[in-house]
Amino acid sequence: MPTEVDPGLAGLSDTLILATVLLYVVAMVAYALDLAFGRARTADPERRLVAAGGVDAADAATGTAEAPAAGGEGRERPAWAARAGAVAVALSWLGWAANAGAVVTRGVAVGRWPWGNMYEFVVAICLAAVTAFLLMQARQPVRFLGAFVSAAAALGIGFAVRYLHVQAGPVVPALNSYWIAIHVSAAIIASGLFIIAGTSGILFLARKDGPSRLPGRAELESLAHRAIVLAFPVWTFAVIAGALWADKAWGRYWGWDPKEVWAFITWVAYAAYLHARVTAGWRGKAATIVQLIAFATLLFNLVGVNIFISGLHSYAQVP
């Protein structure tokens, strides 16, 4: 393993990450303007509920959910507002490029996979969440999520830069394995998707049944469900890959290390969500609350376990 760190590239990575935060914040403002002043989604929640479980055919065909404002709502909108959404998406892609660039340059600078400590891990999870959002909004009308996902990513990376940043460098021998590429990558992808689901879940609870610029609750619920259906098998795989790595590194595939316990709790909680969703009386609000509890356990595993509880995973280098 190379022990030399390229200081130029490491510095470039640190600069790019600051640019990422900036771009995400500006993108968030643009999304918010689009949400507030752009073409309103339908003001009639009943109409959205008809399309429960998916997007109605007209929207699917045109790739946009911005249905024309319902008859009663005919206020004039500023001319620039129409473009705010497109500008926001462009800014998001720029931020994404800076984020990806920061991850790649850090990886090249240290000559290893760039998720060897908490800082790198959080930056990569934010990248995964933004990637998931950008890919989703290219195919489905979910631009409304932009403001919230950008905010979450900007906060996450900001937190990482302020409190978790460590100089680029090699990892301890236990982390020096090809399993880091498999286990940690899967955990990152799943976490990114869970962030999308968690964001929709919070919006679901925040949104009342009345008119809103947000889509209907059924649509928010369905969006969260789709993200979790993707993320849950990936998370399962991440846990199993972790067990395989533990079998190589620590002499047992499962040892109830705190990180393992909480990964397991997260898994059980999301399994409970998938079951709750098909249980009479649990659909909608109750299932969403279960989903958010699961999301909370994920966040606790990510931040809490590394910082407050000592275990085999605590070498993830928190300054």
Binding site: M1, T3, T236, W256
Partner: protein, 529 residues
């Protein structure tokens, strides 16, 4: 307790039932989805204390510390099994109930599914336009057979009747669902079997020394209930040398980079030796018994002469690191054979020693760049003849006479000798070796567990991605121009996004395409053979 579309109602509470009725009621209650959900929550909740309190199976020394720090609280926690959460009766109760509930749900559903697999798709409903997806078009030469052939090519199961075709696909969803849950049961069995028929143990080996896989050779040996001492794989090895490398400069100075142990391994008694390079992520595997590199440390070698000039001790002394960053380590030497008085030593080993500003000596780097040993010597009765077991890492100094307190004197470098006052003898640091700590584990359940885990992921992906869907087609009588009206209706029994709508549209397009009739003709020819 699976992602089902059929919801089991809660069993109404029984009134005036016999014992059989009560049992049936209890069984239905246990296997209801709501109970399964609650058990899932309990299972997650029950694991939480296992991460908050130290566990005997992971860090017994922290449990001991807890008992020392707050004995009263610790006793209560221990009564509630909070130091052995994952082997506690209440944890076992949660997961056994959960898996019982799971089995009670999966088995009946499996038999239902087997019947479903043999059943043919239901006949077309009278009014196809009432279905969620619907289309109708005029086609030339469309027949029931041509339509059925198009659907079969799309891997639908089809049934035809007079003027209609019923097609269904997506049975893999329920298959995957059942596979997933069955795999979880198998995983539990594999983990349990591994615990019963497997063993693990820890041992510390100094450079130059060896290890033979027998129960007596272990420092700590934890067998499963069904393991006999004769069943251990009879391999042995010698630790030729151990190398640790560290970052030497910069902010991360002292961080370890690599640990490499060279072993001369003999797989069976009398088998030829082979060299194995043992690293942290690369265990040694001898016929399914794995040897892992867990830790390392220093074992300085000493030569001790007693008051009569006789050798009272000679050899390596494993020191335990007290500081992971500088690898300052501590150990104890006991020389019970020393005459006229027994000698005991506390040793502070400094791998890279430098004098500090206050006159003490400290280690500044974990590598052995300037290895030295600070010696604290005692004489008197070591208390080893009382027959009480003693730790080799502890010296009870309260009844001993201190001879040398070395914290401010210059520590011994390799080759240097310290004469003890009063002609009590001498101690010489003769060299530095290293030790490694190993975990040796045999778990016959690990491959079955892996297989079960893989099957569970396969089942999970199938059950979450495959959709059960039905398509019905009604083909009208051909008119005078050979054109018939074709009506298509579609239904998915699983919700989920626009994917089914897109598939339905593709099916309709395929039915409209002029190639449909020819394809049917070809298949007709093939079926005829």
């Amino acid at each position: 307790m699976t992602s089902t579309e059929e919801l089991r109602p809660d069993p109404a509470s029984p009134a005036g039932l016999g014992p059989l009725g009560w049992m049936r009621w209890a069984w239905r209650l246990l296997t209801s989805m709501r109970t399964a959900l609650i058990l899932l929550f309990l299972f997650a909740l029950a694991s939480v204390p296992g991460s908050l309190y130290p566990q005997r199976s992971i860090s017994p020394e922290k449990v001991t510390q807890y008992f020392t720090d707050s004995p009263e609280l610790a006793r209560w926690l221990d009564r509630l099994w909070l130091f052995d959460v994952f082997t506690s009766p209440w944890f076992a109760a949660t997961y056994l109930l959960l898996f019982l509930s799971l089995a009670g749900c999966v088995l009946p559903r499996a038999s239902v599914h087997l019947r479903e697999l043999r059943r043919r798709p239901p006949a077309a409903p009278r009014n196809l336009s009432r279905l969620p997806r619907h289309a109708s078009f005029a086609a030339e030469g469309a027949t029931v057979e041509s339509v059925a052939a198009v659907l079969r090519r799309r891997r639908f199961r089809t049934v035809t009747g007079p003027g209609w075709v019923a097609a269904e696909k997506g049975y893999l969803r329920e298959t995957g669902n059942l596979l997933f849950h069955a795999a979880l049961l198998a995983l539990l069995v594999a983990v349990g079997a591994g615990g019963l028929y497997g063993y693990r143990g820890n041992v510390l080996v100094v450079e130059g020394n060896g290890f033979a896989n027998t129960v007596a050779a272990y420092d700590r040996y934890i067998p499963g209930a069904q393991v006999s001492a004769e069943a251990l794989e009879p391999f042995h090895f010698t630790l030729k040398d151990f190398q640790a490398s560290y970052i030497a400069t910069g902010e991360r100075r002292g961080q370890p980079l690599d640990f490499t142990a060279r072993l001369a391994v003999s797989d069976r008694p009398g088998a030829p030796e082979r060299t194995h390079v043992l690293k942290v992520n690369e265990p040694l595997d001898v016929a399914g018994t794995q040897t892992y590199l867990l830790g390392h440390g220093y074992a300085p070698t000493f030569k001790i002469l007693d008051g009569k000039g006789q050798v009272a001790f000679e050899g390596p002394v494993p020191c335990l690191p007290v500081d992971q960053v500088t690898y300052t380590s501590e150990c104890v030497i006991k020389a019970p054979d020393a005459e006229p008085d027994q000698l005991g030593f506390l040793v502070r080993f400094l791998p890279t020693a430098l004098p500090a500003a206050d006159g003490t000596w400290v280690s500044v780097f974990p590598g052995a760049a300037n290895p030295t040993a600070q010696v604290f010597a005692f004489s008197g009765d070591l208390g080893m003849r009382s027959g009480e077991p003693q730790s080799v890492y502890r010296l009870e100094t309260t009844h001993l006479k201190p001879l040398v307190m070395g914290d401010k004197t210059k520590p011994l470098a390799v080759g240097e000798k310290l004469e003890l006052p009063g002609g009590a003898g001498s101690i010489q640091l003769t060299g530095v070796r290293e030790w490694i700590s190993l975990q040796i584990a045999h778990d016959p359940g690990r491959l079955p567990a892996l297989l079960a885990a893989i099957l569970s992921v396969v089942g999970l992906v199938l059950s979450l991605t495959v959709r059960r869907r039905r398509v019905w087609v009604r083909v009208g009588e051909p008119g005078d121009d050979g054109v018939t009206t074709v009506e298509v209706g579609g239904l998915t029994r699983t919700e989920g996004g626009p994917a089914f709508e897109e598939e339905f549209d593709r099916v309709v397009t395929a039915l409209q395409s002029p190639g449909a009739a020819e394809a049917a003709a070809r298949e007709g020819v093939r079926n005829a053979h």
